[in-house]
Amino acid sequence: MRVNLDLGIDHLSRIEGHGNIRIRVEEGKVVEAGWDVVEPPRFFEVMLKGKHYTSAGILTARICGICSIGHCLASIRATEQAFGLTVPPAAAKLRLLAKHGETLQSHWLHLFFLAAPDFLGVPSVLPLLESDPGIIHLARRLRGLGNRLSEAVAGRTTHPVSLQVGGVSAMPTKEKFVALRNELQLSLEEINAAVRLCAGFAIPAFARETEFVSLQGDADYPWIGGGMISTDGVKQPEEEYRAMTNEYLDSRNTSKWCRLSRPSFAVGALARCNNNYHLLHPEAAAAAKHFGLAPVCHNPFMNNLAQLVECIHVSHDAIRLIDELLQDHSAPTMTRVTPRAGRGVGAVEVPRGILYHSYCYDRDGYLVSADCVIPTTQNNANIHLDLPVLVQQFAANGTNDAELARLCAMLVRSYDPCVSCSVH
């Protein structure tokens, strides 16, 4: 059995942003194992001060190149809560549809481009262009549809333009909706191929009990707004997000860390599934069952499969939303905006977990203060605390150095961290 190991991975690949893994095992004991976020700080919350409400969503979308739609939605929701605004029902549907597009493009990006290479034994998807073009074809079909859906509804897939305070500024044409609906219908077959592919992935046998936090669905699987719930039984309304996140500083990290009932907690697809399993579309629930994913699942590697389960759910729900929007295609999508002084919170389930924006406005609609709590910020401590347990378990099994390094990298990737985002 191996008893000594000194491992450092700087700027881990196939994740968004910059983070390092360090592992030291001496005499069979893990003396150091951790996940350090080293991304340069950007100070978005400070930049937001004094900005007009029309700038807030556009600026905060730039926190993240992958979940910019989610940031924009959390931002405009916080502003609308502060101004006491309700958007027209058609706008709420369009926003959810844009959200679904983002969930699809982000989850497929992670599953195919970032996570799958580990399970397929390649450094990236690029060699598959020659060796297994079928997988690339599937990846670009599915991810392309997520991008096209986002683009059609939000105006652009990265850094949206149509999602604005007061509603949504453009309604896709009926022709566009029909084309997307057809594509979504067709994609259900392609998703089955993805399910068959991922069912063959060797998910490491590992679990560390933790707390899972997400929005709590009422009648529907939750995405935008509402109260929060944890698997340890904590419940809070949206505006009490600070009581749910408890951010604190760690000297080795430029990202903050979070805790709730335990030293760390997890957010993301697995947390959403764990808390809202009964609200999944029957086809999505069937896939979850097929993967052996049932609440409360404490294996972080299963987050990969939870994302796939959500892709199925979201594809079905996108078809429903398009049908409803087609029925009342001329419905208003914008409401008049009158700024007022006040505070508002927007909580949105973005691909990597629950995202909060909280704004305080003056009476002219200029920001006095802003606070953003990012999903990966909430996950970082949980990743950090998973690593020593993972290393201890597999080192005890006699796993070799290269394999240990691979497992640690895979563990971090399973959370689909958005590191730049966490250091905003």
Binding site: S13, P40, V46, S124, L126
Partner: protein
Amino acid sequence: MRYLGIDNDRPRIAVFDFTSCEGCELQLANKEESLPAFLSAVEIVQFREISSAVADDYDIAFIEGAISRSDEVTSLQAIRKQAKLLVALGSCACFGGVARLKNACNADEANREVYGDDPKETLPVRPVHEVVTVDLKVPGCPVNKGEVERLVQHLIWHLPYRFPAYPVCLECKQLYTVCRFDLGELCLGAITMGGCNAICPAGGLGCWGCRGPAADPNYGEFFTLAREKGFTSREMNERLGFFGGFEVLP
């Protein structure tokens, strides 16, 4: 890659990210309909966001992000030494982008506000060309993948690439997009470099100037028009300073 019977170079490309959202490099993996063609026209030897492979013998380096820490300066200088051609990808790399808005704040106060008694290293944000020589600047927040494809084609064929001289306004007119200015919204389309296909006005949002100034912009006329429409200096300053591409403020 052969095109019309002629063998072309397959340039070795590396992609690097600094202070940014990584949204521009993500565009390189988007536009799925032409993705296999794009990927087979070049050889990607280093691209941390999507690949664990690392090779340092690249010809072209794409740089996303602005520079805001000393380790970034060191890495960027090393990349400049290796790369035959260094491309600034996106508005952060070209102008500092939204990251540069930080420079308007007091760095110590900002650090204290976010990190309390445990301040982190941060330098005033600089665009890439203020640290090393840049051969090509591709603006946009994010960059337009179609434009990146065309640029790469020109590099492969050894042809000079020219960015549009015309402003975004021209593209709105071509698309019959209703003028946001006429609808009473502030829009920088009249002075911003085109080439984005006027995607924001088409989606119902006035131009925010992410691509920086068009060739020879008529600032005087623009400011006069904006003031006539009732926009204040505060509103115009916020807009012009947003992506860092405009140096002239009213």
